[in-house]
Symmetry: C2
């Protein structure tokens, strides 16, 4: 096989979920059927890796100093939603009608991996809360052990700055069947039951 | 979302089997964790799309005028194996101890799609068979309707040039269970049974 083709197959494996077989399929597909698309991908990827940095206010990916959401006058500046990753931010943006601002931690507290408040930019978040504009901090970290620990830390931080912390509701997913919901979720949902109107 | 990030997600979709969700995951992964890998992929892809062409002898992908296999003195020039695609060639190379040469059709006869003998480079194959060095043409097209039609055409071409055509054996796959083998294969395997030694 051509050495360059082998290098291409190897290079494609940086993409998540791409093993040797699918990398080979991708390389052949691009070379056989879509060289223009391949050229476009190469250019866009090079530009993205070079030019996309982090927004100075929310730490989400951005090509500009401050991202479009943070710069928008149409968003409610008194609501701030903290998420672990840009993908979580996007999921919330697409699923809900939320019109407030975000803060992307780019991770979660994990002392064993050397990820502390500093790595999550919590000094910047504290400064933001101290500005006095934010009234509610919606904490949307993942419901994992580390995500919960991060949530508690964030809640404390919010209270220190007289900001109301809130957390996404946990419970049985809509359309889920009780029989197949995991034990922890079911137990939580049972304990947090609410009176019907 | 950043416009460049959106373009990257869109560009990643030229890869086969990559939908909007996995393209998004790939883009985030590269930007968050592996910018170096992303840069390398961009460069290799650009180089591959530009520089990888087809070998003048076997029509497989090659950076050079004639590929390494065709140029090698260690391969048996009296055996030629015709395959539909570079991926088929690679599969045979990896699975068998075949030491002959290849001819990659880059397709199969399909008159309705405008793919005739010319598109498959059969004029070049005929010229090669006419050289007199090849003694056996191993026809390894896929066992599909179009692949079989192509095989018949190739066999005729071989006979015209006094070259012996052969075809890969069809039958029950090794380790397969009769119960789950498709009807056509089983019927063929039954008809082509061979005496046990």
């Amino acid at each position: 096989m051509s050495a360059l083709l082998e290098q291409l197959i190897e290079a494609l494996r940086v993409l998540p979920g791409v093993g040797p077989k699918s990398a080979q399929r991708m390389a052949y597909h691009v070379l056989e059927r879509d060289r223009d698309g391949g050229r476009r991908l190469a250019e866009t990827l090079a530009a993205a890796v070079e030019r996309i940095g982090h927004c100075a206010r929310c730490r989400d990916f951005s090509e500009t100093e401050v991202c479009a959401t943070c710069a928008s006058a149409a968003r409610d500046a008194y609501l701030l939603c903290a998420v672990e990753s840009p993908a979580d931010r996007l999921a919330i943006e697409q699923a809900t009608g939320y019109r407030g601002l975000y803060f992307v931690l780019q991770g979660r507290l994990s002392p064993l991996d050397g990820i502390g408040p500093r790595e999550l930019g919590l000094d910047r978040l504290a400064a933001r809360l101290a500005e006095g504009e934010v009234q509610e901090l919606i904490i949307a970290t993942n419901p994992t052990v580390e995500g919960e620990a991060t949530a508690h830390y964030l809640a404390q931080l919010a209270r220190q700055h007289k900001v109301r912390p809130s957390r996404l509701a946990h419970g049985v997913p809509l359309g889920g069947e009780l029989e197949y919901v995991d034990r922890g979720t079911l137990s939580h949902a049972f304990g947090s039951r609410s009176e019907m109107p």
